[in-house]
């Protein structure tokens, strides 16, 4: 019963999280960084729901948390994309190596 054990869900979410961190570390494109961040947030959602199903008495708590994660991800993407487009208009590039104006 692989689909009925907590560990398998945790393993899937650990894999997703590690892939997201890998992408976050080696990509230099801002939109690709945003995509990696979405992967990390999704792995957190899977973790919340897995613990909600297998080790929580009240089965609504984890779902409430995942709704908050989805709402905050939507807000974050909204702001990040407008910033990325503004940066692209200014610099004509979205490579983060070139966005170093704020370096002291």
């Amino acid at each position: 019963m692989i689909s009925q054990s907590l560990q398998s869900y945790l393993l899937v979410s650990a894999g997703l999280f590690s892939i997201g961190v890998f992408g976050l570390l080696f990509r230099r494109n801002l939109v690709a960084l945003l995509i990696s961040l979405e992967l990390i947030l999704n792995s957190a959602s899977i973790n919340f729901l897995a613990f909600n199903k297998f080790s929580l008495a009240n089965k609504a708590v984890g779902q409430v948390f995942v709704v908050f994660i989805i709402a905050l991800a939507a807000a974050e993407v909204c702001i990040a994309l407008s910033l990325i487009l503004l940066l692209y208009k200014r610099k004509d590039s979205i490579n983060i190596e070139q966005a170093s104006d704020l370096k002291g």
């Binding site: 992967l39 909600n52 995942v66 989805i70 702001i79 503004l86 200014r90």
Partner: protein, 164 residues
């Protein structure tokens, strides 16, 4: 038995799509792989008895967030034509850190004795709504405020005329 096979298939497709979403050089293909990955996450949510959240995942993540990302890629035309140079050393370093994290997580997951309770319970939308308007009404209102501020902020940021 069939549930297990479908679950393993979902997990394999999920991890492959996630890997493609970070590995491919073209940002547009990254976004398409992200959509496939989010579909598989929605399937896993159904395995975890949260059908409402699976639907929300499809509507919000795929219908709004991925489309917004693709929209931004399309708006800045050469973004998906300029290819970034890859530094093998940097990739190896990032891979080492990610692999270290992954094996640490696996070791923790396998070693820990997790607290298990019965999986029977009330997963319904009714319970979720009672939770929202009862115990966690303050975060609920705060999230609505955050969304409003994010919309206004995005409009203000993208509307500055003198900055170009």
């Amino acid at each position: 038995m069939i549930a297990d096979i479908v679950f393993i298939g979902l997990a394999v497709v999920l991890l492959t799509a996630a890997l493609l979403a970070v590995w491919l050089k073209n940002v547009f293909y990254n976004a398409l792989a992200l959509i496939l990955c989010l579909f598989c996450v929605a399937g896993i949510f159904i395995y975890l008895n949260s059908e409402f959240l699976a639907i929300m995942e499809v509507i919000i993540y795929i219908g709004a967030i991925s489309i917004a990302i693709i929209f931004a890629i399309m708006l800045s035309r050469p973004m998906f034509q300029q290819h970034e140079k890859r530094d093998i050393k940097k990739i190896l370093r990032s891979f080492a850190i990610a692999a270290l994290l992954f094996f640490g997580l696996i070791k923790t997951i396998c070693m820990t004795q997790w607290l298990q309770v019965s999986i029977e319970g009330d997963y319904s939308i009714r319970a979720l709504g009672k939770m929202f308007l009862g115990e966690s009404v303050l975060p609920f209102e705060a999230v609505s405020l955050v969304l409003l501020v994010a919309i206004i902020g995005a409009l203000v940021i993208s509307n500055t005329k003198d900055s170009v």
